[in-house]
Amino acid sequence: MILSVQDLSFRYNSHPVLQDVRCEARPDEIVAILGPNGAGKTTLLRCMNAMLRPKTGTVMLGEQDILSLSRREIARSVAHVPQHTEPPRVTAFDAILLGRRPWIGMNVHQDDILKVQVIIEQLHLSGLALRHVDAMSGGELQKIVIARALVQEPRVLLLDEPTSSLDLKNQHEIMRFIRSVVHTHHLTALMTMHDLNLALHYADRFVLLKEGMVYAAGGEEVITPKLIEEVYGVPVAIRRWGGRNVVVPHADADDSLRLPGDSPGTVMSM
Protein backbone atom coordinates (compact mmCIF):
# COMPACT_ATOMS: atom_id res chain seq x y z
CA MET A 1 0.00 0.00 0.00
CA ILE A 2 1.40 3.37 -0.98
CA LEU A 3 1.29 6.08 1.64
CA SER A 4 1.59 9.54 0.24
CA VAL A 5 1.61 12.86 1.99
CA GLN A 6 0.39 15.75 -0.14
CA ASP A 7 1.06 19.39 0.68
CA LEU A 8 0.57 18.76 4.36
CA SER A 9 0.71 21.62 6.85
CA PHE A 10 0.23 21.39 10.57
CA ARG A 11 0.34 23.91 13.37
CA TYR A 12 0.10 23.62 17.16
CA ASN A 13 -2.09 26.57 18.05
CA SER A 14 -0.44 29.37 16.09
CA HIS A 15 2.97 27.75 15.93
CA PRO A 16 3.57 26.20 12.50
CA VAL A 17 5.28 22.80 12.69
CA LEU A 18 4.96 21.41 9.18
CA GLN A 19 4.61 23.34 5.93
CA ASP A 20 3.70 21.91 2.56
CA VAL A 21 5.27 18.55 3.23
CA ARG A 22 5.21 16.09 0.36
CA CYS A 23 6.57 12.60 0.54
CA GLU A 24 5.69 9.08 -0.40
CA ALA A 25 6.52 5.56 0.71
CA ARG A 26 5.99 2.33 -1.21
CA PRO A 27 5.77 -1.33 -0.25
CA ASP A 28 9.06 -3.18 0.40
CA GLU A 29 10.63 0.13 1.26
CA ILE A 30 11.95 1.73 4.42
CA VAL A 31 11.80 5.51 4.36
CA ALA A 32 13.87 7.30 6.99
CA ILE A 33 12.56 10.69 8.11
CA LEU A 34 15.60 12.67 9.21
CA GLY A 35 16.21 16.11 10.61
CA PRO A 36 17.32 17.90 13.75
CA ASN A 37 15.27 18.04 16.95
CA GLY A 38 12.13 20.09 16.48
CA ALA A 39 12.11 19.71 12.70
CA GLY A 40 8.64 18.10 12.86
CA LYS A 41 9.54 14.43 12.36
CA THR A 42 7.30 13.03 15.08
CA THR A 43 4.48 15.39 14.14
CA LEU A 44 4.67 14.20 10.54
CA LEU A 45 4.52 10.58 11.68
CA ARG A 46 1.49 11.33 13.87
CA CYS A 47 -0.28 12.97 10.95
CA MET A 48 0.26 9.79 8.94
CA ASN A 49 -2.12 7.76 11.09
CA ALA A 50 -4.50 10.64 11.75
CA MET A 51 -3.51 10.89 15.39
CA LEU A 52 -3.09 14.56 14.52
CA ARG A 53 -5.30 16.23 11.93
CA PRO A 54 -3.38 18.36 9.45
CA LYS A 55 -4.62 21.91 8.87
CA THR A 56 -4.24 21.59 5.13
CA GLY A 57 -3.15 18.86 2.77
CA THR A 58 -3.95 15.17 2.85
CA VAL A 59 -2.47 11.83 3.72
CA MET A 60 -3.50 9.21 1.17
CA LEU A 61 -3.52 5.56 2.15
CA GLY A 62 -3.63 3.81 -1.20
CA GLU A 63 -6.59 5.47 -2.89
CA GLN A 64 -8.23 6.73 0.28
CA ASP A 65 -7.91 9.94 2.23
CA ILE A 66 -6.97 8.85 5.74
CA LEU A 67 -9.35 11.38 7.30
CA SER A 68 -12.29 9.64 5.62
CA LEU A 69 -11.53 6.43 7.54
CA SER A 70 -12.59 5.51 11.07
CA ARG A 71 -9.96 5.01 13.76
CA ARG A 72 -10.48 1.27 13.63
CA GLU A 73 -10.12 1.18 9.84
CA ILE A 74 -6.89 3.14 10.08
CA ALA A 75 -5.62 0.81 12.80
CA ARG A 76 -6.24 -2.15 10.50
CA SER A 77 -3.88 -0.69 7.89
CA VAL A 78 -1.42 1.41 9.82
CA ALA A 79 0.52 0.30 12.88
CA HIS A 80 2.44 2.77 14.97
CA VAL A 81 5.37 2.19 17.31
CA PRO A 82 5.58 5.25 19.56
CA GLN A 83 8.84 6.60 20.88
CA HIS A 84 7.84 5.97 24.48
CA THR A 85 5.62 3.18 25.67
CA GLU A 86 4.24 2.95 29.16
CA PRO A 87 4.87 -0.68 30.03
CA PRO A 88 1.62 -2.15 31.33
CA ARG A 89 1.76 -4.73 34.11
CA VAL A 90 0.78 -7.68 31.94
CA THR A 91 2.64 -10.54 30.31
CA ALA A 92 4.35 -10.10 26.96
CA PHE A 93 1.77 -12.38 25.36
CA ASP A 94 -1.11 -10.21 26.59
CA ALA A 95 0.72 -7.03 25.57
CA ILE A 96 1.16 -8.38 22.03
CA LEU A 97 -2.42 -9.67 21.95
CA LEU A 98 -3.54 -6.07 22.46
CA GLY A 99 -2.42 -5.46 18.87
CA ARG A 100 -5.42 -7.51 17.75
CA ARG A 101 -7.72 -4.81 19.16
CA PRO A 102 -8.62 -3.37 15.72
CA TRP A 103 -9.81 -6.80 14.60
CA ILE A 104 -11.59 -8.23 17.61
CA GLY A 105 -15.25 -7.78 18.40
CA MET A 106 -16.46 -8.80 21.83
CA ASN A 107 -13.70 -11.22 22.61
CA VAL A 108 -10.48 -12.70 21.27
CA HIS A 109 -10.83 -15.58 18.87
CA GLN A 110 -8.58 -18.61 18.82
CA ASP A 111 -7.09 -17.24 15.57
CA ASP A 112 -5.99 -14.11 17.40
CA ILE A 113 -4.13 -16.22 19.96
CA LEU A 114 -2.47 -18.20 17.17
CA LYS A 115 -1.42 -15.06 15.31
CA VAL A 116 0.27 -13.79 18.44
CA GLN A 117 2.02 -17.15 18.66
CA VAL A 118 3.21 -16.83 15.03
CA ILE A 119 4.75 -13.44 15.74
CA ILE A 120 6.33 -14.65 18.97
CA GLU A 121 7.98 -17.51 17.11
CA GLN A 122 9.10 -15.30 14.22
CA LEU A 123 10.70 -12.84 16.63
CA HIS A 124 12.19 -15.57 18.83
CA LEU A 125 10.36 -14.16 21.82
CA SER A 126 9.13 -17.49 23.21
CA GLY A 127 11.33 -17.12 26.29
CA LEU A 128 9.67 -13.80 27.12
CA ALA A 129 6.06 -14.72 26.40
CA LEU A 130 4.88 -15.14 29.97
CA ARG A 131 7.18 -12.60 31.56
CA HIS A 132 5.79 -9.29 32.73
CA VAL A 133 6.43 -6.38 30.40
CA ASP A 134 7.05 -3.85 33.17
CA ALA A 135 10.08 -5.86 34.33
CA MET A 136 11.74 -6.00 30.90
CA SER A 137 14.81 -4.20 29.59
CA GLY A 138 14.50 -1.45 26.97
CA GLY A 139 15.49 -3.78 24.13
CA GLU A 140 13.04 -6.49 25.15
CA LEU A 141 10.24 -3.98 25.57
CA GLN A 142 10.91 -2.51 22.14
CA LYS A 143 10.66 -5.95 20.57
CA ILE A 144 7.35 -6.54 22.34
CA VAL A 145 6.00 -3.21 21.07
CA ILE A 146 7.11 -4.00 17.51
CA ALA A 147 5.53 -7.45 17.83
CA ARG A 148 2.30 -5.79 18.94
CA ALA A 149 2.41 -3.51 15.90
CA LEU A 150 2.98 -6.48 13.56
CA VAL A 151 0.18 -8.59 15.00
CA GLN A 152 -2.12 -5.77 13.87
CA GLU A 153 -1.40 -7.17 10.39
CA PRO A 154 -0.80 -3.67 9.07
CA ARG A 155 0.26 -2.69 5.59
CA VAL A 156 2.02 0.45 6.72
CA LEU A 157 4.40 0.51 9.67
CA LEU A 158 5.24 3.82 11.35
CA LEU A 159 8.12 3.81 13.81
CA ASP A 160 9.10 6.79 15.93
CA GLU A 161 12.81 6.49 16.69
CA PRO A 162 12.68 2.75 17.15
CA THR A 163 16.30 2.52 18.27
CA SER A 164 16.61 5.59 20.48
CA SER A 165 16.69 3.75 23.80
CA LEU A 166 18.72 0.74 22.67
CA ASP A 167 22.33 -0.30 22.94
CA LEU A 168 24.47 -0.92 19.85
CA LYS A 169 23.72 -4.61 19.53
CA ASN A 170 19.99 -4.13 20.02
CA GLN A 171 19.92 -1.21 17.55
CA HIS A 172 21.19 -3.40 14.76
CA GLU A 173 19.15 -6.40 15.83
CA ILE A 174 15.92 -4.37 15.78
CA MET A 175 16.76 -2.68 12.48
CA ARG A 176 17.68 -5.97 10.79
CA PHE A 177 14.47 -7.41 12.08
CA ILE A 178 12.37 -4.49 10.80
CA ARG A 179 14.03 -4.75 7.39
CA SER A 180 13.37 -8.45 7.11
CA VAL A 181 9.72 -8.04 8.16
CA VAL A 182 9.24 -5.23 5.65
CA HIS A 183 10.57 -7.41 2.84
CA THR A 184 8.83 -10.63 3.89
CA HIS A 185 5.41 -9.06 4.27
CA HIS A 186 5.79 -6.31 1.65
CA LEU A 187 5.15 -3.59 4.18
CA THR A 188 5.53 0.12 3.69
CA ALA A 189 7.68 1.45 6.52
CA LEU A 190 8.42 4.99 7.61
CA MET A 191 10.61 5.77 10.57
CA THR A 192 11.99 8.86 12.20
CA MET A 193 15.65 8.53 13.10
CA HIS A 194 18.48 10.48 14.64
CA ASP A 195 21.34 8.14 13.84
CA LEU A 196 22.36 8.96 10.26
CA ASN A 197 24.61 5.92 9.93
CA LEU A 198 21.89 3.56 11.09
CA ALA A 199 19.57 5.23 8.55
CA LEU A 200 22.14 4.89 5.76
CA HIS A 201 22.63 1.26 6.69
CA TYR A 202 19.00 0.18 6.69
CA ALA A 203 16.77 2.70 4.94
CA ASP A 204 16.07 2.73 1.20
CA ARG A 205 15.01 6.33 0.87
CA PHE A 206 15.38 9.48 2.93
CA VAL A 207 13.29 12.54 3.70
CA LEU A 208 15.20 15.37 5.36
CA LEU A 209 13.12 17.86 7.26
CA LYS A 210 14.31 21.27 8.29
CA GLU A 211 12.07 23.71 10.18
CA GLY A 212 8.95 21.83 9.13
CA MET A 213 9.75 21.71 5.43
CA VAL A 214 11.14 18.95 3.25
CA TYR A 215 14.69 20.04 2.56
CA ALA A 216 15.61 17.08 0.41
CA ALA A 217 14.22 13.67 -0.44
CA GLY A 218 15.43 10.70 -2.40
CA GLY A 219 17.83 7.77 -2.29
CA GLU A 220 21.26 7.51 -0.75
CA GLU A 221 22.66 9.95 -3.30
CA VAL A 222 20.89 12.90 -1.64
CA ILE A 223 22.84 12.42 1.59
CA THR A 224 25.83 14.64 0.89
CA PRO A 225 28.15 16.46 3.29
CA LYS A 226 26.83 19.78 2.02
CA LEU A 227 23.21 18.80 2.66
CA ILE A 228 23.89 17.48 6.16
CA GLU A 229 25.77 20.62 7.08
CA GLU A 230 22.86 22.72 5.84
CA VAL A 231 20.23 20.69 7.71
CA TYR A 232 22.05 19.87 10.95
CA GLY A 233 24.58 22.69 11.01
CA VAL A 234 27.44 20.28 11.53
CA PRO A 235 30.27 19.81 9.02
CA VAL A 236 30.68 16.15 8.13
CA ALA A 237 32.63 13.94 5.79
CA ILE A 238 31.15 10.93 4.07
CA ARG A 239 33.47 7.96 3.67
CA ARG A 240 33.09 4.54 2.13
CA TRP A 241 33.53 1.85 4.71
CA GLY A 242 32.82 -1.81 4.08
CA GLY A 243 30.91 -1.02 0.91
CA ARG A 244 28.61 1.61 2.42
CA ASN A 245 28.57 5.28 3.11
CA VAL A 246 29.42 6.39 6.61
CA VAL A 247 28.84 9.88 7.95
CA VAL A 248 31.72 11.17 10.06
CA PRO A 249 31.27 14.50 11.81
CA HIS A 250 34.42 16.56 12.00
CA ALA A 251 33.46 18.85 14.73
CA ASP A 252 36.75 20.71 14.95
CA ALA A 253 35.70 22.79 11.98
CA ASP A 254 32.78 24.20 13.90
CA ASP A 255 33.48 26.75 16.59
CA SER A 256 30.18 26.19 18.32
CA LEU A 257 31.06 22.60 19.16
CA ARG A 258 34.41 23.37 20.67
CA LEU A 259 34.70 22.93 24.41
CA PRO A 260 36.23 25.69 26.48
CA GLY A 261 39.96 25.03 26.71
CA ASP A 262 40.12 23.15 23.45
CA SER A 263 42.90 24.41 21.29
CA PRO A 264 41.83 25.03 17.70
CA GLY A 265 42.36 21.97 15.61
CA THR A 266 41.74 19.40 18.34
CA VAL A 267 39.33 16.80 17.03
CA MET A 268 36.46 16.35 19.40
CA SER A 269 35.42 12.79 19.92
CA MET A 270 31.78 12.26 19.04
Binding site: H80, V90, L98, L130
Partner: protein
Amino acid sequence: MHLDISAVQEPGAYTGYIRKKVLFLCACTVILVLLAFVSVGVGSVMIPFADVIQTLVYHSSGNAEMIIWNIRLPRVLAAVVCGIGLAAAGVVMQSVLRNPLSSPYTLGVSQAAAFGAAVAITLFGAGTLGRLISDAIVVNNPYLVTICAFMSSLVATSVILLVAKYRSTSPEVMILVGVALAALFTAGTTFLQYFSSAEQIAAIVFWTFGDVGRATWSDLAIIVAVITPCLVYFMVKRWDYNALDSGDETAKSLGVNAERVRTVAMFLSSLIAAVVVSFLGIIGFIGLVSPHMVRRIIGDDQRYLLPGSCIVGGIILLGADTVARIIIAPAVLPAGVLTAFLGAPLFLHLLIRGTRS
Protein backbone atom coordinates in the same frame (compact mmCIF):
# COMPACT_ATOMS: atom_id res chain seq x y z
CA MET B 1 0.13 -8.18 5.85
CA HIS B 2 -1.26 -11.58 6.65
CA LEU B 3 -0.01 -13.94 9.32
CA ASP B 4 -0.23 -17.60 8.40
CA ILE B 5 -1.49 -19.52 11.40
CA SER B 6 -1.53 -22.98 9.82
CA ALA B 7 1.93 -23.93 11.08
CA VAL B 8 1.65 -22.97 14.74
CA GLN B 9 0.32 -24.88 17.67
CA GLU B 10 -1.82 -23.51 20.41
CA PRO B 11 0.46 -21.93 23.03
CA GLY B 12 -0.10 -24.36 25.89
CA ALA B 13 1.70 -22.31 28.53
CA TYR B 14 -0.43 -19.26 27.78
CA THR B 15 -3.65 -21.25 27.76
CA GLY B 16 -2.72 -22.64 31.16
CA TYR B 17 -1.95 -19.16 32.41
CA ILE B 18 -5.38 -17.93 31.30
CA ARG B 19 -7.06 -20.98 32.81
CA LYS B 20 -5.62 -20.04 36.20
CA LYS B 21 -7.23 -16.62 35.97
CA VAL B 22 -10.59 -18.09 35.02
CA LEU B 23 -10.25 -20.53 37.91
CA PHE B 24 -9.63 -17.62 40.25
CA LEU B 25 -12.80 -15.89 39.03
CA CYS B 26 -14.82 -19.08 39.52
CA ALA B 27 -13.42 -19.59 43.03
CA CYS B 28 -14.29 -16.00 43.99
CA THR B 29 -17.81 -16.41 42.65
CA VAL B 30 -18.32 -19.55 44.72
CA ILE B 31 -17.03 -17.75 47.82
CA LEU B 32 -19.39 -14.84 47.18
CA VAL B 33 -22.44 -17.10 46.79
CA LEU B 34 -21.57 -19.12 49.92
CA LEU B 35 -20.93 -15.95 51.89
CA ALA B 36 -24.29 -14.59 50.77
CA PHE B 37 -26.12 -17.66 52.08
CA VAL B 38 -24.23 -17.52 55.37
CA SER B 39 -24.79 -13.79 55.66
CA VAL B 40 -28.54 -14.13 55.29
CA GLY B 41 -28.58 -16.19 58.48
CA VAL B 42 -26.30 -13.95 60.53
CA GLY B 43 -27.41 -11.08 62.75
CA SER B 44 -29.13 -10.31 66.00
CA VAL B 45 -31.43 -13.24 65.22
CA MET B 46 -29.32 -16.19 64.09
CA ILE B 47 -31.00 -18.42 61.54
CA PRO B 48 -29.52 -21.88 60.93
CA PHE B 49 -28.14 -22.49 57.46
CA ALA B 50 -30.68 -25.22 56.70
CA ASP B 51 -33.55 -22.90 57.57
CA VAL B 52 -32.08 -20.20 55.31
CA ILE B 53 -32.02 -22.58 52.36
CA GLN B 54 -35.50 -23.83 53.12
CA THR B 55 -36.92 -20.32 53.42
CA LEU B 56 -35.25 -19.12 50.25
CA VAL B 57 -36.24 -22.11 48.16
CA TYR B 58 -39.61 -23.27 49.51
CA HIS B 59 -40.74 -20.30 51.54
CA SER B 60 -41.99 -20.97 55.03
CA SER B 61 -44.10 -19.23 57.55
CA GLY B 62 -42.99 -17.55 60.71
CA ASN B 63 -40.18 -15.35 61.87
CA ALA B 64 -37.48 -16.68 59.57
CA GLU B 65 -39.57 -15.95 56.50
CA MET B 66 -40.22 -12.38 57.61
CA ILE B 67 -36.65 -11.64 58.67
CA ILE B 68 -35.08 -13.15 55.58
CA TRP B 69 -37.36 -11.71 52.93
CA ASN B 70 -37.96 -8.30 54.45
CA ILE B 71 -34.68 -7.50 56.18
CA ARG B 72 -31.78 -9.77 55.43
CA LEU B 73 -32.13 -10.51 51.73
CA PRO B 74 -32.42 -6.90 50.50
CA ARG B 75 -29.53 -6.04 52.80
CA VAL B 76 -27.34 -8.86 51.48
CA LEU B 77 -28.19 -8.14 47.85
CA ALA B 78 -27.57 -4.41 48.33
CA ALA B 79 -24.16 -5.19 49.79
CA VAL B 80 -23.28 -7.48 46.90
CA VAL B 81 -24.55 -5.19 44.14
CA CYS B 82 -23.06 -2.02 45.60
CA GLY B 83 -19.77 -3.77 46.34
CA ILE B 84 -19.65 -4.88 42.73
CA GLY B 85 -20.57 -1.41 41.48
CA LEU B 86 -18.07 0.46 43.63
CA ALA B 87 -15.27 -1.95 42.70
CA ALA B 88 -16.10 -1.59 39.01
CA ALA B 89 -16.05 2.20 39.32
CA GLY B 90 -12.70 2.01 41.11
CA VAL B 91 -10.99 -0.32 38.68
CA VAL B 92 -12.20 1.65 35.65
CA MET B 93 -11.15 4.97 37.17
CA GLN B 94 -7.73 3.53 37.98
CA SER B 95 -7.37 2.39 34.40
CA VAL B 96 -8.56 5.44 32.46
CA LEU B 97 -6.74 7.91 34.71
CA ARG B 98 -3.69 5.61 34.76
CA ASN B 99 -3.65 6.20 38.48
CA PRO B 100 -3.63 3.32 40.97
CA LEU B 101 -4.88 5.54 43.80
CA SER B 102 -8.16 6.40 42.07
CA SER B 103 -11.56 5.41 43.34
CA PRO B 104 -14.84 7.27 43.81
CA TYR B 105 -13.99 7.81 47.46
CA THR B 106 -10.33 8.88 47.18
CA LEU B 107 -11.11 11.35 44.38
CA GLY B 108 -13.94 12.99 46.28
CA VAL B 109 -16.70 11.84 43.90
CA SER B 110 -18.58 10.01 46.67
CA GLN B 111 -18.41 13.05 48.95
CA ALA B 112 -19.73 15.21 46.13
CA ALA B 113 -22.59 12.80 45.59
CA ALA B 114 -23.35 12.89 49.32
CA PHE B 115 -23.54 16.68 49.20
CA GLY B 116 -25.95 16.53 46.25
CA ALA B 117 -28.12 14.02 48.06
CA ALA B 118 -28.07 16.12 51.24
CA VAL B 119 -29.24 19.11 49.20
CA ALA B 120 -32.10 17.08 47.82
CA ILE B 121 -33.10 15.85 51.27
CA THR B 122 -32.87 19.11 53.21
CA LEU B 123 -33.69 21.78 50.63
CA PHE B 124 -35.94 19.98 48.15
CA GLY B 125 -37.72 17.88 50.74
CA ALA B 126 -36.90 14.55 49.15
CA GLY B 127 -36.55 12.91 52.54
CA THR B 128 -38.43 13.00 55.79
CA LEU B 129 -37.37 12.10 59.28
CA GLY B 130 -38.16 8.63 60.48
CA ARG B 131 -39.31 7.84 63.98
CA LEU B 132 -36.69 5.24 64.74
CA ILE B 133 -32.98 5.93 64.93
CA SER B 134 -32.40 2.87 62.74
CA ASP B 135 -34.13 4.60 59.84
CA ALA B 136 -33.37 8.12 60.86
CA ILE B 137 -34.15 9.38 57.41
CA VAL B 138 -36.63 8.06 54.93
CA VAL B 139 -36.02 8.95 51.33
CA ASN B 140 -39.43 9.41 49.78
CA ASN B 141 -38.20 10.60 46.42
CA PRO B 142 -35.25 8.36 45.50
CA TYR B 143 -35.14 9.66 41.92
CA LEU B 144 -34.65 13.26 42.99
CA VAL B 145 -31.98 12.25 45.50
CA THR B 146 -30.12 10.18 42.92
CA ILE B 147 -30.31 12.88 40.28
CA CYS B 148 -29.03 15.54 42.67
CA ALA B 149 -26.26 13.21 43.85
CA PHE B 150 -25.30 12.50 40.26
CA MET B 151 -25.27 16.16 39.22
CA SER B 152 -23.07 17.00 42.16
CA SER B 153 -20.70 14.06 41.53
CA LEU B 154 -20.38 15.21 37.92
CA VAL B 155 -18.99 18.53 39.14
CA ALA B 156 -16.23 16.63 40.94
CA THR B 157 -15.64 14.39 37.93
CA SER B 158 -15.34 17.35 35.58
CA VAL B 159 -12.70 18.89 37.80
CA ILE B 160 -10.80 15.56 37.85
CA LEU B 161 -10.96 15.24 34.07
CA LEU B 162 -9.77 18.81 33.63
CA VAL B 163 -6.80 18.21 35.91
CA ALA B 164 -6.07 14.88 34.19
CA LYS B 165 -5.72 16.74 30.90
CA TYR B 166 -2.48 18.23 32.10
CA ARG B 167 -0.01 15.60 31.13
CA SER B 168 2.35 15.74 34.04
CA THR B 169 -0.33 15.04 36.62
CA SER B 170 1.12 12.45 38.97
CA PRO B 171 -1.05 10.06 40.99
CA GLU B 172 -0.19 11.99 44.13
CA VAL B 173 -1.33 15.30 42.64
CA MET B 174 -4.60 13.70 41.61
CA ILE B 175 -5.13 12.50 45.18
CA LEU B 176 -4.56 16.05 46.42
CA VAL B 177 -7.26 17.16 43.99
CA GLY B 178 -9.45 14.49 45.56
CA VAL B 179 -8.64 15.79 49.04
CA ALA B 180 -9.59 19.30 47.95
CA LEU B 181 -12.84 18.14 46.39
CA ALA B 182 -13.75 15.98 49.38
CA ALA B 183 -13.05 18.89 51.75
CA LEU B 184 -15.13 21.25 49.61
CA PHE B 185 -18.17 19.01 49.40
CA THR B 186 -17.94 17.88 53.02
CA ALA B 187 -17.91 21.57 53.95
CA GLY B 188 -20.98 22.01 51.77
CA THR B 189 -22.74 19.23 53.65
CA THR B 190 -21.70 20.80 56.97
CA PHE B 191 -23.06 24.12 55.74
CA LEU B 192 -26.44 22.49 55.14
CA GLN B 193 -26.32 21.00 58.64
CA TYR B 194 -25.70 24.44 60.12
CA PHE B 195 -29.11 25.57 58.92
CA SER B 196 -30.88 22.37 59.79
CA SER B 197 -32.83 21.39 62.83
CA ALA B 198 -31.25 19.16 65.46
CA GLU B 199 -33.12 16.13 64.14
CA GLN B 200 -32.00 16.86 60.59
CA ILE B 201 -28.38 17.17 61.70
CA ALA B 202 -28.62 13.82 63.43
CA ALA B 203 -30.20 12.39 60.33
CA ILE B 204 -27.53 13.73 57.96
CA VAL B 205 -24.66 12.63 60.19
CA PHE B 206 -26.17 9.21 60.52
CA TRP B 207 -26.80 9.05 56.81
CA THR B 208 -23.23 9.94 55.81
CA PHE B 209 -22.04 6.71 57.46
CA GLY B 210 -22.45 4.17 54.73
CA ASP B 211 -24.88 1.47 55.78
CA VAL B 212 -26.19 -1.24 53.50
CA GLY B 213 -29.13 -1.94 55.82
CA ARG B 214 -30.98 1.07 54.45
CA ALA B 215 -31.88 -0.46 51.09
CA THR B 216 -35.44 -1.59 50.45
CA TRP B 217 -36.52 -3.84 47.59
CA SER B 218 -37.54 -0.85 45.49
CA ASP B 219 -34.21 0.93 46.20
CA LEU B 220 -32.47 -2.26 45.16
CA ALA B 221 -34.35 -2.28 41.86
CA ILE B 222 -33.10 1.22 41.03
CA ILE B 223 -29.54 0.36 42.08
CA VAL B 224 -29.52 -2.75 39.90
CA ALA B 225 -31.11 -0.89 36.98
CA VAL B 226 -28.33 1.70 37.06
CA ILE B 227 -25.33 -0.50 37.80
CA THR B 228 -26.04 -3.40 35.43
CA PRO B 229 -25.88 -1.41 32.15
CA CYS B 230 -22.72 0.30 33.40
CA LEU B 231 -21.09 -3.07 34.08
CA VAL B 232 -22.08 -4.38 30.66
CA TYR B 233 -20.62 -1.28 29.04
CA PHE B 234 -17.38 -1.61 31.01
CA MET B 235 -17.06 -5.26 29.99
CA VAL B 236 -17.59 -4.40 26.33
CA LYS B 237 -14.91 -1.72 26.58
CA ARG B 238 -12.39 -3.80 28.54
CA TRP B 239 -10.01 -3.95 25.56
CA ASP B 240 -10.05 -0.18 25.33
CA TYR B 241 -9.06 0.04 28.99
CA ASN B 242 -6.25 -2.41 28.32
CA ALA B 243 -5.12 -0.20 25.43
CA LEU B 244 -5.23 2.92 27.63
CA ASP B 245 -2.96 1.15 30.13
CA SER B 246 -0.20 1.44 27.50
CA GLY B 247 -0.67 5.19 27.14
CA ASP B 248 -2.88 7.39 24.98
CA GLU B 249 -0.61 7.28 21.96
CA THR B 250 -0.64 3.49 21.78
CA ALA B 251 -4.37 3.38 22.41
CA LYS B 252 -5.07 5.81 19.57
CA SER B 253 -2.87 3.88 17.18
CA LEU B 254 -4.95 0.80 18.02
CA GLY B 255 -8.12 2.59 17.00
CA VAL B 256 -9.27 3.67 20.46
CA ASN B 257 -10.73 7.14 20.88
CA ALA B 258 -8.86 7.75 24.12
CA GLU B 259 -10.55 10.99 25.20
CA ARG B 260 -14.05 9.67 24.63
CA VAL B 261 -13.37 6.36 26.36
CA ARG B 262 -11.96 8.23 29.35
CA THR B 263 -14.82 10.71 29.58
CA VAL B 264 -17.57 8.09 29.27
CA ALA B 265 -15.86 5.80 31.79
CA MET B 266 -15.54 8.61 34.34
CA PHE B 267 -19.16 9.66 33.71
CA LEU B 268 -20.49 6.14 34.34
CA SER B 269 -18.22 5.62 37.37
CA SER B 270 -19.65 8.81 38.86
CA LEU B 271 -23.15 7.58 38.15
CA ILE B 272 -22.45 4.34 40.03
CA ALA B 273 -20.93 6.23 42.96
CA ALA B 274 -23.92 8.59 42.99
CA VAL B 275 -26.54 5.86 43.06
CA VAL B 276 -24.72 3.93 45.79
CA VAL B 277 -24.28 7.06 47.91
CA SER B 278 -27.91 8.06 47.42
CA PHE B 279 -29.23 4.83 48.89
CA LEU B 280 -26.51 3.64 51.25
CA GLY B 281 -24.46 6.72 52.17
CA ILE B 282 -20.68 6.98 51.76
CA ILE B 283 -18.91 3.63 51.73
CA GLY B 284 -15.21 4.23 51.26
CA PHE B 285 -12.30 2.26 49.92
CA ILE B 286 -14.13 -0.66 48.25
CA GLY B 287 -13.20 0.79 44.85
CA LEU B 288 -9.59 1.10 45.96
CA VAL B 289 -9.07 -2.13 47.90
CA SER B 290 -10.63 -4.77 45.70
CA PRO B 291 -8.83 -3.93 42.42
CA HIS B 292 -5.52 -3.95 44.27
CA MET B 293 -6.16 -7.30 45.90
CA VAL B 294 -7.14 -8.86 42.58
CA ARG B 295 -4.28 -7.18 40.71
CA ARG B 296 -1.82 -8.82 43.10
CA ILE B 297 -3.15 -12.22 42.15
CA ILE B 298 -4.07 -12.10 38.45
CA GLY B 299 -2.33 -8.99 37.12
CA ASP B 300 -3.48 -5.91 35.23
CA ASP B 301 -5.29 -7.48 32.28
CA GLN B 302 -8.71 -5.81 32.35
CA ARG B 303 -10.40 -8.84 30.82
CA TYR B 304 -9.99 -10.59 34.17
CA LEU B 305 -9.18 -7.73 36.51
CA LEU B 306 -12.54 -6.05 35.91
CA PRO B 307 -14.82 -9.03 36.69
CA GLY B 308 -12.43 -10.20 39.42
CA SER B 309 -12.47 -6.83 41.18
CA CYS B 310 -16.27 -6.72 40.96
CA ILE B 311 -16.67 -10.10 42.62
CA VAL B 312 -14.09 -9.35 45.30
CA GLY B 313 -15.77 -5.95 45.86
CA GLY B 314 -19.02 -7.80 46.50
CA ILE B 315 -17.27 -10.16 48.89
CA ILE B 316 -15.60 -7.34 50.83
CA LEU B 317 -18.71 -5.22 51.29
CA LEU B 318 -20.88 -8.22 52.14
CA GLY B 319 -18.19 -9.54 54.50
CA ALA B 320 -17.85 -6.14 56.15
CA ASP B 321 -21.59 -5.87 56.65
CA THR B 322 -21.83 -9.42 58.01
CA VAL B 323 -19.09 -8.70 60.55
CA ALA B 324 -20.72 -5.34 61.33
CA ARG B 325 -23.93 -7.17 62.26
CA ILE B 326 -22.29 -9.50 64.80
CA ILE B 327 -19.28 -7.62 66.15
CA ILE B 328 -21.28 -5.66 68.77
CA ALA B 329 -24.58 -7.53 68.45
CA PRO B 330 -27.39 -6.78 68.96
CA ALA B 331 -26.28 -3.35 67.79
CA VAL B 332 -25.29 -3.07 64.13
CA LEU B 333 -22.32 -1.03 62.94
CA PRO B 334 -22.48 0.78 59.58
CA ALA B 335 -20.49 -1.25 57.04
CA GLY B 336 -18.76 1.94 55.88
CA VAL B 337 -16.91 2.12 59.20
CA LEU B 338 -15.45 -1.34 58.69
CA THR B 339 -14.47 -0.79 55.05
CA ALA B 340 -12.61 2.34 56.17
CA PHE B 341 -10.72 0.31 58.80
CA LEU B 342 -9.75 -2.10 56.04
CA GLY B 343 -9.09 0.46 53.31
CA ALA B 344 -7.23 3.27 55.04
CA PRO B 345 -4.18 1.12 55.97
CA LEU B 346 -3.97 -0.21 52.41
CA PHE B 347 -4.20 3.31 51.06
CA LEU B 348 -1.31 4.37 53.29
CA HIS B 349 0.65 1.30 52.23
CA LEU B 350 0.19 2.22 48.56
CA LEU B 351 1.33 5.78 49.20
CA ILE B 352 4.42 4.71 51.13
CA ARG B 353 5.44 1.92 48.79
CA GLY B 354 5.06 4.17 45.76
CA THR B 355 2.28 3.82 43.29
CA ARG B 356 4.16 2.06 40.56
CA SER B 357 6.31 -0.83 41.65
